[in-house]
């Protein structure tokens, strides 16, 4: 409309393959035989189970409570019985298990009592809490708890709220269909976010290959008499990356080191906005989502799927063709191969693609880099991917950080165009995970050192105090009982006073009275906090590394094995032990 477009550098135009899955309206996926609801479906703290085995739960009942501020609750997707709370294979590239609540549906699909609320009558704090407890997270794939993104920066006035309906990944159409069919609810939901943030302007960005969605959104905006601008943005992957869309619509570039609110802008996916609206206006927590089921199947389509539905059951609805050789979760550019179809649909599952050798041909053999610069030309973050590649390969991780490896969003544009077919993203993930694990090792070592020093200090002090006490006691004894003869009979009374002192002494060790102790404890606590924060708030590119340490360690090992570094490269590794001390992401 009136908005000026800014464009972003780089990007590619792969075949979109979106048409097959938009032929049918969103379908309601049938109730599966059993639901496996992972407790940890978001970035940040893992919710703890609030139900016990054998308990009967209602649809929408809280089964996992948010753990800390950056976390989001998890709910029962239907009514039924909790069969187990156990480790079940996760929707993660590693396929490692994660703690899940197994629910056998009773078929009645009976809701908890729901209350409709108007966000305008609630305190902002309360609204954020409701969103957290309704399990509202970024449904674009990042699964970052939304309420944690809804606080404006103190010093910067909130200018623009960007609503992301770009959906740039090939094959994916879940947001497209959602906008076509439920535009009004999205538009209503936007008001919640706008009011919480106090944004002056709302810009809804949709790639111009979705005319139906654009017109549906425009109509809804008009009908509801809002002043939001629905902007058609040029179709170019990754226009739907939050930072790219913010850039296209507002001209602002959010560096990796900053949060977008610090630039007075924030971005939410349309599906997220939709669930926020359902949570407030209908009291419905996030228990389902729209999933595009497409690729090498007979009936591509979007389904509204209950979270926890085993992927195998969902995929069966589309009737995969015989030559299907793999399944991807997410788009073909940033998604991953699902190692086990027993894994459930989770909040981050926006798309399932059945792959075939024809659809995703095996990559031709890797050749050496010819420094052609094609990768740099398409990098939306204007990095020099081939430099990162050379340094990652040489295990010179300090240099990769100098060349901004943590600004890489792993969009895959560079790998897409590389004439030498180098799996660049794989190298970058390897480098990032190495840097993270070294960083963690170092932090663990630092923390251990701090603990050790703390203990040493305490022990020294204890000893000093004990000596003093003993001296005093001896002196007192000496003066009080001088006349009495030293015998076993008088010993008990002398022992008695020692015990309370010992108790008090250990209490004192952690009491805040000792400045040294306090300082050290503060350092440890601060370090712990910083670590937790970094892990929680890091941009998407580290998401899969930090969500679960277990998964991550396995992933690192596997990638390392897959990379098979040449002996020369392995030798180079020694040189950069010093650089591992640099902090990532800066």
């Amino acid at each position: 409309m009136l908005a000026q477009l800014f464009g972003f550098k780089g990007g590619v135009k792969p075949q979109t393959n979106k048409a097959p899955s938009v032929q049918l309206p969103i379908g309601q996926a049938p109730l599966p035989s059993c639901l496996f609801v992972p407790l940890h479906q978001n970035i940040g703290g893992a919710p703890n189970p609030l139900v016990v085995v054998g308990e009967h739960v209602l649809k929408g009942q809280l089964i996992g409570g948010a753990d800390g501020w950056v976390s989001a609750a998890v709910h029962a997707p239907t009514s039924g019985t909790v069969l187990a709370i156990e480790e079940h294979v996760a929707a993660h590239p590693s396929g490692l298990p994660t703690l899940s609540v197994v629910i056998e549906p009773d078929g009645r699909d009976q809701w908890i009592p729901r209350t409709a609320l108007d966000h305008r009558s609630l305190a902002p704090e309360r609204v954020r809490e409701i969103l957290r407890d309704a399990g509202v997270v970024g449904l674009g794939g990042a699964a970052f708890p939304s309420h944690a993104k809804l606080t404006p920066a103190r010093a910067v006035p909130m200018q623009d709220l960007v609503i992301n309906g770009a959906e740039c990944e090939p094959f994916m159409t879940c947001d497209d269909l959602l906008m076509r069919e439920r535009a009004e609810e999205i538009v209503r939901g936007i008001a919640i976010f706008r009011d919480l943030l106090g944004a002056k302007r709302v810009l809804i960005g949709i790639e111009d290959n979705k005319p139906e969605a654009i017109s549906a959104m425009n109509k809804a905006v008009l009908r509801l008499a809002e002043d939001y601008a629905v902007v058609a943005v040029p179709t170019r992957y990754p226009a739907g990356g939050a930072k790219q869309l913010i850039r296209v619509l507002t001209g602002k570039e959010v560096p990796a080191s900053k949060r977008s609110t610090e630039l007075g802008v924030q971005c939410f996916n349309v599906a997220t906005v939709y669930t926020a609206y359902r949570a407030l206006a209908h009291g419905e927590p996030v228990i389902s989502r729209i999933v595009t089921l497409t690729g090498n199947i007979e009936q591509p389509r979007n389904w509204e799927v209950r979270l926890g539905t085993p992927m195998r059951e969902l995929i069966a609805l589309g009737r995969p063709k015989a030559d299907t050789d793999r399944y991807l979760m997410g788009g073909p550019m940033m998604g991953f191969e699902i190692p086990d179809l027993a894994a459930p649909v989770v909040k981050a599952t926006n798309c399932l693609i059945a792959g075939s050798p024809a659809l995703f041909p095996a990559s031709p053999p890797e050749m050496p880099c010819i420094r052609c610069g094609a990768c740099a030309e398409v990098c939306p973050h204007e990095l020099q991917p081939f430099e990162l590649y050379w340094f990652s390969r040489a295990r010179n991780f300090g240099k990769t950080q100098e060349y901004h490896i943590f600004d890489c969003i792993e969009c895959g544009c560079c790998s897409y165009v590389c004439p030498s077919h180098i799996p660049l993203v794989q190298y970058f993930r390897f480098a990032k995970s190495e840097i993270w694990s070294r960083e963690r090792e170092k932090q663990a070592a630092d923390a251990a050192k701090a603990r050790f020093e703390l203990r040493n200090a305490r022990e020294e002090r204890e000893q000093a105090e004990k000596a003093e006490r003993l001296a005093k006691a001896a002196a007192a004894r000496g003066s009080e009982r001088k006349p009495a003869p030293a015998s076993a009979a008088v010993l008990p009374p002398t022992v008695e006073p020692v015990q309370p002192v010992a108790a008090a002494e250990s209490a004192e060790a952690v009491s805040p009275s000792d400045p040294d102790t306090v300082r050290k404890a503060t350092i440890v606590a601060a370090m712990e906090r910083a670590r937790a924060q970094r892990e929680a708030v890091k941009p998407r590119n580290t998401e899969q590394l930090t969500v679960e340490q277990k998964n991550e360690i396995a992933a690192i090992e596997a990638r390392r094995a897959a990379l098979k570094p040449e002996p020369a490269a392995a030798q180079g590794g020694r040189a950069d032990s010093a650089t591992s001390q640099e902090r990532p992401g800066e």
Binding site: L328, G330, H404
Partner: protein
Amino acid sequence: MMNWTTPPYLLDGQASVRRVMLQVLVGLLPGIGAYVWLVGPSILLQLALATISALAGEALMLRLRGKPLSLFLGDGSAIVTAWLIALTFPPLAPWWLVVVGTLFAIVVAKHLYGGLGQNPFNPAMVAFAACIVSFPALMSQWPALGLKLTFAEQVSIIAGLAPRIDVMSGATPLDAIKTALKLGEGTVDVPTLLATQDVFGNFAGRGWEWVTTGYLLGGLWLWQRRIITWYAPLGFICGLSLLAGALWLWNPQGFASPLFHLFSGGAMLGAFFIVTDPVSGCTTSRGKLIFGFLAGLLAYTIRVFGGYPDGVAFAVLLMNLCVPLIDMYTQPPIFGMKNQR
């Protein structure tokens, strides 16, 4: 066993090293066409000799280094090197000269430095420099254009069966100016030379001016196909024209025009096919501009004031040395960091 594959699962089906190299070869065709038409078909024989020796050298080195032959032999990079060598060597040079040059380029300048993608110096330019230093006489024997030889005669000269007749050692247009000015000692001036001597055509060397125009056209096509970017060629052309233009304006009697220089010798080939070599050139946009510009300045300086007929090869090799430095200092600001420098 878990199957570890990483995204993206979609690749640009068009992108491959072979395709890049093939397009570079296609980009050379207009120039080669003009060459055959105006200078003689002997260049085809030289191209074939160079191609065969490049592939043979490549196969040998790949085998010695234990690399997959099928993968690398077909990448086309050796053929690009071969063609550049053939096009920069005199067309009637003896067969072994181009063979030795090409083998040197492939074996020493390419594979001893680690093969595809690893060579810091442009292999074709290494070959040219090595040969002009080792065989200065043979490398400066250019056929006079008026010389009408049949293809059979050309072949027998290249094969060494016919005597290398004197009339063949006509000077290149660049050499002609240099020699005439030196011999004339102030009595001759460039405009008269250009107007009277037979080696000169409309704006540069007779015949050659169209060959170099062919390179220009092919280069523009490569740019349009996004195989090369405009930075290095423009930098080169600017560097060369700037120096040439300044001296020409200052003393038009003693110096040829920038136009003449751009369309003479290896300038156009250099601008579009040599300073654009990704492996041995700069990678950043500003770096490419600087690389091209300085190479242009150097090329002019060497060809006009130095002892060799042309300066492109030495200029490029000198600049190859500076690449890591230039790249390091021209890293562009990344997304979100543009205002934080």
